[in-house]
Symmetry: C2
Subunit: 288 residues, 2 copies
């Protein structure tokens, strides 16, 4: 059995992925677990990691981790790097362990004004820039907390977090707007929502009243709400620079359609694998 | 014991208030219950009402109801009146009962474009207009679903519902923003929120990141969020017309302060009692 040269880990709030890499950079071993940061106290991380990589190594081995394991409430805090800066590779924090694993955690990024933070996405961005070092423009990672990131000269220049996904889940599942919503998708209702999205907060209740006044439109409420919130997120997008969408294919495709309507051209990049590329780039930087 | 001449009821989603009125309009009896619309099927309303007013009357008696009892999922649907129209008194819907109560339910109001609805607030507005028939301007009823109502010539000309209160509750109790929030009020943080409220949706995540980057500001997160959302609600308020705030004293006072900062003068009217005044006005109209 081939021994891994080093170990990469993406340790998020809910889940954990680990890769064992050979000296040539190839993935030899992989493992995943649901022991995310949200379920662990600091003294439990080492045991979880040892359990996942048991048998991968027979001596001292480097481990490089990104994500919420480096949050204040994680394994050990890796203080945020302040933008503008390169997205990954600097100021990894060493963690004391009792075994042969030499663990380091990558910091997230912060911005002072307007105040903002990210942890984990910076490593995906580093993975993207590893193959596109000259990219300049906007990277958007749509999701629960969408990130909009301005890139130039290999650096994150600035970024904003939008709570679109979390707001959509709260409103569609727990607010008065949930009544009568169907799970079916309705393109027309989504477009109607987009049209009102310049004033989305004030238009939220129309999701409900539209269906009350015209029951034939109740089924489209979910798509309408989605249009309102995604449209609001995209207000003011800079259409003069290229936009790269990183993430889940279906959501990225929806964002791409809206961006086109807003006059911006975008390119979709599959997010799967970018974290590992980012960890590899950061590890090379740390070793260099 | 004096018998009541007629019965007024405010039957909301969560609660129910009933008044027994003498021929001179004075309140002789009162009762309240938590058997709101949300807990009842249509066949249960009559029993609840009979239980509350038992002994108040000894013959056929008019009952006039406002609120959610007239919703589609209530006792009997009282279809919305479309604005512009007077806020109450027209098109009450009769309900078949098995006893001596002659029950009618007042309709709510609707607006076709932008789509909007209200049920119950129109009766408070009618109560206000009963003593201020010449009022022209804006009435705001702040709350879970704030109503902004344009009044002229004794009519509701148009209105908008803003989900400010529900959004505040969802975000402060169930979103990622709840972390580290204190219950203490912080005037400075509220003002900071107001300053960002022109772009409230995009600024929501700063509620969280501000506290992460400067723990001394974490305690103010709740007030900051309140400033963001109330400020967003008040964007574009018409400062050229008088604003009357109807509702809970503390919330109304907060809105009055913000309206002043936005250049609008407002007057606070205690909402307690206005529903009954509105029911009286509507009853006089129906009998007239």
């Amino acid at each position: 059995m081939s021994q891994v040269a080093w170990i990469a880990a993406d340790w998020g709030t809910s889940n954990l992925r680990v890769w064992g890499l050979g000296a040539n950079g190839k993935v030899i071993e992989t493992a995943r677990s649901d022991q995310g940061m949200g379920k662990l106290t600091p003294d439990q991380y080492e045991g979880v990691l040892n359990g996942l990589v048991a048998g991968w190594t027979d001596g001292p081995t480097d481990v490089l981790i990104c994500g919420m394991a480096g949050a204040k409430q994680g394994w050990k805090e890796a203080p945020y790097l302040s933008v503008p800066c390169a997205p990954a590779g600097a100021d990894a924090v060493s963690v004391q362990t009792s075994g042969a694993l030499n663990v380091r955690i990558l910091p997230g990024l912060c911005q002072i004004d307007p105040p903002d933070v990210m942890r984990g996405e910076e490593t995906q961005i580093a993975g993207f820039l590893a193959s596109r070092p000259d990219f300049a423009g906007t990277i958007c990672l749509p999701g629960t907390h969408s990130k909009w990131v301005q890139i130039a000269d290999g650096q994150v220049r600035s970024f904003r977090t939008k709570m679109t996904g979390e707001l959509f889940n709260l409103l569609s599942e727990q607010s008065v707007l949930r009544h009568g919503m169907s799970d079916d998708w309705d393109d027309g209702a989504f477009t109607d929502g987009l049209k009102q999205s310049h004033d989305a907060l004030n238009a939220l209740f129309t999701v409900r009243s539209t269906g009350l006044l015209d029951p034939s439109k109740a089924a489209g409420a979910r798509s309408y709400l989605s249009g309102l919130l995604i449209g609001a997120e995209l207000q003011g997008v800079d259409t003069a620079v290229p936009v790269v969408l990183i993430g889940d294919g279906k959501l990225s495709a929806l964002y791409a359609t809206v961006l086109e309507q807003f006059g911006a051209t975008s390119e979709i990049v599959d997010g799967e694998g970018l974290v590992l590329e980012g960890l590899k780039a950061a590890y090379a930087e740390l070793k260099g």
